[in-house]
Symmetry: C2
Subunit: 207 residues, 2 copies
């Protein structure tokens, strides 16, 4: 072996930082390498292509997300308990990964081909993770305790509302006239806002 002092990890860390900061396109392999303190040939040596390294970075982040969500989803508890904790978990995760929502949006919008592999895999995950919860939800709806709504719609609403909070934050950070206190105040308020909004949609009254 040569003089490697965890070059691979250094490149990963640099790539993650830049992708989150500048998006996919503006994070050039040369820039990533520079940030990691190596030649850009190293990046290709370890990861073959820019696409590959991006996939690895995204994978790492999404696996963290799934790990956070699993403890909430794995138990069969009352629908609202699971939902509330799921929303809060997602919110907290995005709050500690504030640029991730923006990056995912960027890629979905302008480089969706990078996500093709994920979209395939998503079908399987969706079924494994959500099937029992979907059944419970449908029971609640049949018995009239919850307003009619599809599982997909709920998931969609939660995901978009959560992402919107942190994407607008990233955007605002780059504009003037918004103090960081107001930002944090806004964020704090949003978490319970989302919970309330979903509750209101399901039960017809505020939580």
């Amino acid at each position: 072996m040569g003089a490697q002092r965890n070059t691979e990890q250094r490149i990963m860390a640099a790539a993650e930082k830049l992708f989150l900061e500048k998006g996919y396109i503006l994070s050039t392999t040369t820039l990533i390498a520079k940030e990691a303190g190596v030649t850009h040939a190293m990046l290709h040596y370890y990861f073959r292509t820019k696409e590959q390294i991006f996939i690895k970075v995204l994978n790492k982040n999404l696996e963290e997300l799934i790990s956070s969500l699993r403890p909430v989803m794995v138990y069969q508890r009352p629908v609202w308990e699971t939902l509330k904790e799921g929303i809060e978990m997602l919110f907290d995760f995005l709050n500690t990964h504030r640029q991730l929502a923006g990056l995912i949006y960027d890629v979905i919008s302008y480089n969706p081909q990078l996500l093709e592999a994920y979209i395939q895999g998503l079908g399987g995950l969706k079924n494994k993770m959500f099937e029992r919860h979907r059944e419970m939800l449908e029971d609640e709806i049949r018995s009239g305790r919850i307003n009619p709504i599809s599982m997909e719609q709920i998931v969609y609403d939660i995901v978009t509302m959560n992402m919107a909070v942190f994407m607008s934050m990233t955007a605002m950070k780059n504009m003037i006239g918004f103090s960081s206190e107001k930002r944090e105040e806004f964020i704090a308020r949003q978490k319970s806002e989302i919970v309330s909004k979903i509750h209101y949609r399901l039960y017809g009254k505020l939580y």
Copy 2:
């Protein structure tokens, strides 16, 4: 004069289409020219730089937005009337310019230097357009009819909520598993959702 058959406008239209579709970076001058059916030298001849043409496209769109908003803002009517119509106007505008929110977000996030000129100008506009409404709002708050909140926060909430609706739409269009009926249904619901949410924030009860 040479053989010009509104080349300038054709380039503008092509640029607008591509910027909205692919964002700023992926819309190369060569691609825009190709879309317009001319050499990319023409683009530089008429607009000097890519940055310039982008500014013109953005200007055009923002001027349309201001024009839509002016009739709502210019009269001195009760606070809630102005607010409700303002929200609905912005929503309708974004609904007929569905990719604009995404483009603005893209540029704010990854090429904010393009917006520097606007950020300067924004200060003046803000004062001219909002000053009287701010006074009315503050009167309402002092008299206890409206919960304390700053003008900036209201504008910010309205803008981010509206943008979020259409950005999530653009994103979803590029993913699978979401029918266009559900999309339209979702959009229709969002307009009154935003109105309600702002009303609730100001008056403590649903609209």
